[in-house]
Symmetry: C2
Subunit: 179 residues, 2 copies
């Protein structure tokens, strides 16, 4: 067993999502942290040794609160709404893909809809990354009961190793549930 020269790159799945505090199309603090950490601590200068698989899971907006000021009068309106969601997801991924290209590390990116924790595990089973990097808000046990955490679920249920990167204290917003 020796360290690998060349060969198949290590495939890292990085789960990214939108911020709940900053407007469209900003990435969340924790997913930016996880992505930056992966570049700085794992990939470093060895850009040809890795491939980043960026996944963004959109939660279907069942409450419709986002659209409270919209009027839906025709099937076209719904089509437009779906189109807008798609654009938001693509904009988010564009940010990360752009960074990958700047640095010269290969990447793939895609959007899925559903419950993020379950979709991440499902997609990990499908594309078989070497490991998953996921951001974590580092909530306390009380907050976790009400909010749930994607990282803990993935650590328990994903088929591959998972590394959760917590936000630093300096980056934690006033309400730690925000991200």
């Amino acid at each position: 067993m020796a360290a690998v020269e060349g060969g198949v790159p290590t495939r890292i799945m990085v789960a990214v999502n939108e911020s709940t505090i900053k407007g469209y199309p900003h990435a969340s603090i924790s997913s930016m942290g996880a992505f930056d950490w992966t570049l700085k601590k794992i990939i470093r200068s060895n850009t040809s040794g890795f491939k980043i698989l960026l996944i963004h899971v959109q939660v279907p907006d069942e409450d419709g609160f986002d659209d409270m000021d919209s009027i839906f009068a025709s099937p076209e309106d719904f089509k437009r709404m779906k189109h807008r969601d798609k654009i938001r997801g693509l904009h988010l991924l564009e940010y990360f893909v752009h960074k990958c290209h700047e640095i010269g590390v290969a990447c793939e990116a895609w959007v899925k809809k559903g419950d993020p924790k379950e979709v991440i595990c499902f997609e990990a089973k499908r594309v078989q990354p070497d490991f998953i990097v996921v951001g974590s808000r580092g909530l306390n046990p009380f907050q976790k009961v009400f909010v749930g955490t994607v990282s803990e679920f993935c650590i328990k249920h994903a088929d591959c190793p998972v590394i959760a990167i917590k936000r630093s204290t300096a980056q934690t917003p006033q309400d730690p549930v925000d991200d």
Copy 2:
């Protein structure tokens, strides 16, 4: 933010322990797996970009079962026993340090006594690695109640990110509690 060229290497703490099935001084299946995974998937050919911090925590043999066939007749006997424990720990680390030198990746190694999960977290706070890699037997929930798991405790309590590497099914011994 760009991938790092040169600079301070990424410091990876790898926790290693002795096998419960093979005789002295073999490493456990899960810690060998975690170490090999780190070389193959993270360090790859970028040996100058990383430093491995090898920690081995020896559990004090309070039951004394290991020494049931020994007779302790003098203070010298106890000294010899302690000396033997030390040698066992050093032999284990020697195996990993030798591999690091072969590959050309910098390393440090040390032995501590105590409860592995607590000592690993304490040492991580002290030496501040960028992340910890720890092997995991991948026990089922029922087995965990009786055996306890080092990896889950570290994921919850360590100050830095932790990645647990599960043994593959092919490597799991007949009794999965063995390692």
